[in-house]
Symmetry: C2
Subunit: 403 residues, 2 copies
Amino acid sequence: MRIGGCSRLSTSEPLFDTVIIRFGGEIGIKGAWTRKLYERRLIENVRAVLKHYAIPYNALVRRFGRLYLKTPSAWDAAKKLSRVFGLSSLSPALETTSKMGEIVDKCVYLAGLRLKKGNSFAAKCRRVGKHPYTSQEVCREVGRRILEAYPLLGLRVDLTRPNVTLAVEVREDRAFIYADAIQGVGGLPLGVQPRVVCLLKGGARSAAACWLAMKRGCPPVLVHFDNDSFSGETRLDTALDAARVLFEWAVGFPRELHVIANGLNIAEIVQKCPRELTSLVCKRLMLRIAERTAESEGAEGIVTGDVLGEGSTHTINAFKIQDTVSRIFPVHRPLLGFDTIEIENLTQKIGIHKTVAQEVGESAVALKKLTLASVEDVCLAEEKLNINELVKRSMETIKTLSL
Amino acid sequence: MRIGGCSRLSTSEPLFDTVIIRFGGEIGIKGAWTRKLYERRLIENVRAVLKHYAIPYNALVRRFGRLYLKTPSAWDAAKKLSRVFGLSSLSPALETTSKMGEIVDKCVYLAGLRLKKGNSFAAKCRRVGKHPYTSQEVCREVGRRILEAYPLLGLRVDLTRPNVTLAVEVREDRAFIYADAIQGVGGLPLGVQPRVVCLLKGGARSAAACWLAMKRGCPPVLVHFDNDSFSGETRLDTALDAARVLFEWAVGFPRELHVIANGLNIAEIVQKCPRELTSLVCKRLMLRIAERTAESEGAEGIVTGDVLGEGSTHTINAFKIQDTVSRIFPVHRPLLGFDTIEIENLTQKIGIHKTVAQEVGESAVALKKLTLASVEDVCLAEEKLNINELVKRSMETIKTLSL
């Protein structure tokens, strides 16, 4: 019954009055204390989306392990909320009383809108509470009445692979009727983990890595290193595009991009360090600055879009050399084990595919690369720089753009 | 044309004489030097699988950006080789000369085995070299002759969604005919990255994380911490099962599991450290030991099955506290951004789902947990232990099991 959308019902369709909002399975298995915390955060995030998109609603109620949103814009709300991390699925629904007659009437009405000529259908019913009928009786009556109501459509009942499933959920003295479940994004509610600094290069990969950290609960502190004055090729625009897409998944959280001028740093590194080590020295400097940014922003980790084997600064050896500079916060690489095709699928899901150019790696700054360097080589090269001064100067260049 | 298998052709089917082995797309876009290295490693890994499963073959030739394996066990070989990292797909094929008549004859023969009553089919042809016919002429002739040869089957040509596609690849004076493409696992050839220590807990998660690192080229050094003497509950058996499954993906590489006695360590930690910090102290000790093991085994990183938000020792804060002890090698967490359901799908793909029990986390050793600890708290707690001594003693307990 996971149907992505319903072409015949427009978003302004006034038919539905409720959205049934289901939590992800992972929240349900948490201990009581954690679950309460997670659910509270989830409700806050849902409210933020409703406010952000100015979706009118009368009530948002937590009952029976779900959320029930009372709104005249049910379909629109369900679609917008499907981007809230921690939700498994959402169903625009009709609410009615638990009286058999009213349930059946609503089902017939919804069936009339959803069923096409020659379609097969099924009715399913789940109940909580005491009622003068069984779930099976509801299904039988719904099926019978639908067949009776639309004799010209040539409908038939198919319990295994129906075109449309009419679902009835009876909860005490109320009942909910729906025919669609919009898939939620899954994950854990944004904000249940500490913030992390995400290095947003301006490519799809770094944005996808950030999104994965967000999916598991970390609000992102977006940082972009702008190489403009060195390479004359700024990627700030694409980084801004990527940030805007990411913020669609983080409604209610700060919409900021921290831009750090990196051109002078690269120029100095290229001038003073052996050509084959420049990219590693650059990366290490960026991680040092990222760590300072994490401290000042109250973040507790650093996330990069590195993919193992993607290039000469994406080897196990290069990661080892880079990570020694990050002394307080570990570097997380959620895309470590991803293939290119898997990253493409992911960025498409995020909606970042079209707006943001493909990652071009360090080639953008035309630095020579090296696969087999040692930490000692790189430290020796760094002695020619005043690293602390570079970090300090860079921190002073930070511009925070509000999007 | 990606068909998982063909039920009508058994693995002993002598029909095919060749396997066309295609490289993953990521290898093709590497620079010349890297590509050569990767392809050489890939060929070594392919040979290792053929040897391991005693698959007879006459030749393994690299031509036209592919591998051609000459074998009477083509279907069996293709299936076994589909687990070699770096391969995108494999087709059991018939080799013949580039003469039109012979190509068409073989197509008709293969069609007779693959097509069922009422099926639709298409013919596709690609050519390298000069021939007295066009690709289109080949397709037309194949189509015509197949329809002519099986009049009772009621076949029809469908170029967009055929049941069966007869593919013809003409390469200079030879031609290859096939109807199936077995999907390869993708990734990069095992061995193109340095070894990494993988902490194999005995659950599906840690094995899946290890597999992801393998998929991107890292041969694993499998390490299992055995808590037997503390908890009386050994997970060595499931760790051994997991290791055996992983080794099916690493044919030609060492089949060893390093088992470290951890029971005494836990007993001492539980006795001397504050209850709420024991799990973090345990994890840090394991990482220290893992780092020593990495040094002694020539590995360059540590891989764990940690999933963000999975439990109280799987938070951004806990990762931060744990990782400070790993001074040389970074800790990689390929599953960081995965949801439970995604991990389940992955473990099913790996084939680990049935053999290995679900991860039960630290609850197996019944340690109390804490979400909000600081590095300072943990360091203070560790002062009550002789950490260096514990690491040294543990390193002396290592038993290496050959599987």
